[in-house]
Amino acid sequence: MTGVDVVFAETSATDRTVEIPLSHLSVELGHLYMEELVDGSVDLATYFGRIASWTGPDQLADLARVPRARLRASTCVLVDDYAAAPLGPDVVVPRLIAAARSAGLTIDYIARESGCAAPLGGVGALAGLPPAASLADLVESLIVADPAAGFNGSRPPPHENGWLCNGVRSPADGARQAMRAPVAWQPPVENRAHRHSIFLDVEIWREQAPGRLWSCPFLATVWQLLRLGQLRVLGQPAVTQVDIDPDDLPTTWTQFPTIARLPGRAAPFAAYRTLSVLDGRFVPVEHAVRMTLGQVAVDPTVAEQTLRRAGREKVPLPAELPDRVGHVFLGG
């Protein structure tokens, strides 16, 4: 022995995972279907007014579990443009900003749902993703399904053809054997049910030319993961925010950034926790989001970095992703 500590390392041999700025809380100021923006059935000023009464600074600081003086919170809205987008950003964005402002709210970021399903481009190809792969494809590859009792690894995990559930499905009728008496119906079972099952089976995607049609709850899961700052492609942030000028907006959503930052002093887009203030009709969607989030295994380096930073900032943070997601559901 030489008595000298020799450390040899190659930079390419270690992961390089970029940390991204984090707020304490990402606040989603409602969600509207495109049809409602088109037909004007929702009075936007009243709508944002109801949201504002749940997003006061004291309430947000309390939810973020930090003192009000320290609170970093950013606000965002996700535009539902994936299925159809008869109105472009030049019409929708100014309307949202004005209505929010009339209720005393500032929108910091506006995102488009279609961005979660749009090709990632160059960085995706480098990462071994097919050329047209999207954020949704990336998140689907992170799903580690909750195993049913008896799953020991001897077979490949069941591929559910675009469905994800929280337990064991009721056996299909097709399993009934010929010439035998019909098998009595058996109920589905929720894994880790609390006495009784609440079985949930969620459509993730459907094959529809020219490719996959992603479900709304799954894109909403991608949206939550973006807001929680947990998505990376080859260690780089999967999406970066782009500044936009509200006086010079494109007419189509494809020309609009996936996440746009409006002028102002916005806190970082991603956050330790999220709060979504939504109409009560979104309960099923968000139930599906929580279930799906609970079966997503993000890059352990990212997960560790986030927990370590929260520890340094003395922000209490649950390790489980679904526990970082909060909701306020408004009645009719």
């Binding site: 071994g128 020991n152 690894g153």
Partner: protein, 362 residues
Amino acid sequence: MGAEGGGCAEAKDATSAGGRSDVLVGEVRTGLLANSRALTEPEATAVVALSPGSQVRVSARPVPHAVSPGLTLGVHCPVPSASGTRRDGLGTVLSRASLTSGRLVQASTHARIVLGGRGSVIEGRRPWAHHLVHPGTIEVVGRLPADDLADGFLLTATGDGPGVVLDLGAVCGRLLDQVQESPILDQKLPFRARRTRFRFVLLPCRHTAAGESFHHSSAGDSDTTSGSSRAPGHVCRVDFVVADETVRTLRMHGSGLSLVDVVGLCEDFALHDWLLTTVQHVVAGSRVRAGGGGRLPSQLKPVIDHLLHVWMPAARVGEELLPVWVGLEQRAGFSRQWESLVGWIRDQLSLSLLAVLGDGAR
């Protein structure tokens, strides 16, 4: 054969005191890559880019090495037990595939099995998200001695058919197949070589107090980080068994070790064991046919082309685990055997050169 290091005294089994204990179990399968030539670094990277968006770790020294990102799989089944005790485990196993020198392929799968002691039965079932926070950990409800689990795991061949017990062999075998079926590979093996299976367990040192474990927790194990520095890890006992032509088992007792490093050691060990086994097999075959007028036995050529330069024992093994290599070298004489085989091959090469020169002079 066994190698005892560190002068650790035999003492009461750590698991008998009713505390929680952890056992690391894993399997490594090693084989020759189904490609006629060595892969370049970009090709090797593409072959093991198995998780979209995640990074492949590549190193060039001392031999090119590319490792896939960790792949997580959920399991909910009984864990192995030599006594046949049925204890259900729930959690995930971690796998990764690696290519060495663009010619050898390995798949490895492991899990840290957390055994509940008396009175520490996990209440109910935690949400699945809890298990995803600690990838590669299986929590077991109910008491099971660590040695019972380790024996059950090492002695039972898995991956060969349906069973009910945790089947790391099947997970590992599927991953190796997946890599070998990569469209980047031409499916032409330069020569025939068998796959080896290398099963390993890491148990707490027998003299550690109950509840102490063989590993140090990472920052991700808790919500906050503690600034305390840890005691250096060490290994107190290693048993390596060549069970049959293709199956090897390694049983280690240690404390304060990084599990990632232990898995890395086992992969490195399995790789060198495969090299030794394969070259030994080829040499044994050539010896039978040798003596044909000083001509180089034809089956030696691919070995010289593809394997001899890959021997780099302990190149990626951390400081704490180096004594394991040293101990095994002393007892099992890996490098001595390798050098003797390589020496014989070189002698054959020299003899064949002399024969060629002699032919030319005539």
